[in-house]
Symmetry: C2
Subunit: 146 residues, 2 copies
């Protein structure tokens, strides 16, 4: 019994690691022509809707604020983003897109749409949505266990 449960946990972890690598590769391939890396795109994408602090971005993506901080500093350095004053917190400046950043995100969009269409065609929109729901549920359960 516990042997089978161990296998479930191990299988889930291994397939999660593999999916991570695969999506990373897809993102890398989409972002590169625009001069971004996958990590840069991810952080820029997080502030498309509204500026967020570095810590907010980290929390929303489940990664450490330090990792986001380094990427954000690079993005500001490259001109894709800029820090805005945060009325709610003097230290926690807000990461906001520059026009260049917005244009870069927009430049990726066609290929992003194309790749998304390929995935949906190959897997089916419903099955893909179900997979995302299952993964989200799993993530929530793991969060509750931690």
């Amino acid at each position: 019994m516990s042997r089978q449960q161990q296998e479930l946990l191990s299988s889930a972890a291994l397939i999660a690691f593999r999916l991570n690598g695969q999506f990373l590769a897809v993102a890398e391939q989409l972002a590169r022509p625009a001069g971004l890396t996958a990590a840069w795109w991810q952080v820029l994408g997080a502030v498309v809707g509204a500026p967020l602090s570095v810590s907010d971005i980290g929390r929303s993506m489940g990664i450490s604020r330090q990792a986001v901080q380094r990427t954000a500093d690079l993005l500001v350095d490259k001109g894709f983003a800029e820090y805005h004053e945060n009325p709610a917190h003097r230290r926690a400046k807000l990461v906001a897109l520059t026009d260049a950043g917005r244009a870069t995100i927009a430049a990726i969009s066609p290929q992003h749409a194309h790749e998304a269409a390929r995935l949906v065609t190959a897997m089916g929109a419903t099955e893909l949505a179900n997979a995302i729901a299952a993964m989200t549920k799993l993530s929530e359960v793991l969060d509750a266990l931690a």
Copy 2:
């Protein structure tokens, strides 16, 4: 339409990244008391059944052979694994568990079983198995698209 498809791809990628981090944290926590890291445990676990070459391990886990190589060298250095001659290929030595490696894997087993039981209890064996199946399907589709 393509906007929604883009959202599907982005959501799938983001939740995959998050699951990666969560399972990594679980593995890290399980492996640490035994003196292993998550990556070491993963490589050791890959050769529990039979010795494999570094490249084989990389392929089976979907990561680069160089990453496995460094971990394998460390494992051999620490005494958890050893290189065996490979009759089929003089350069591609086989990574095999030492007794110490086998004992270490065994030492993690109780906690591994306990954590697995917690996950199964919280999510349900069927739903977990379904999630794994959905993720596996997604991974296969991504593989076919690449």
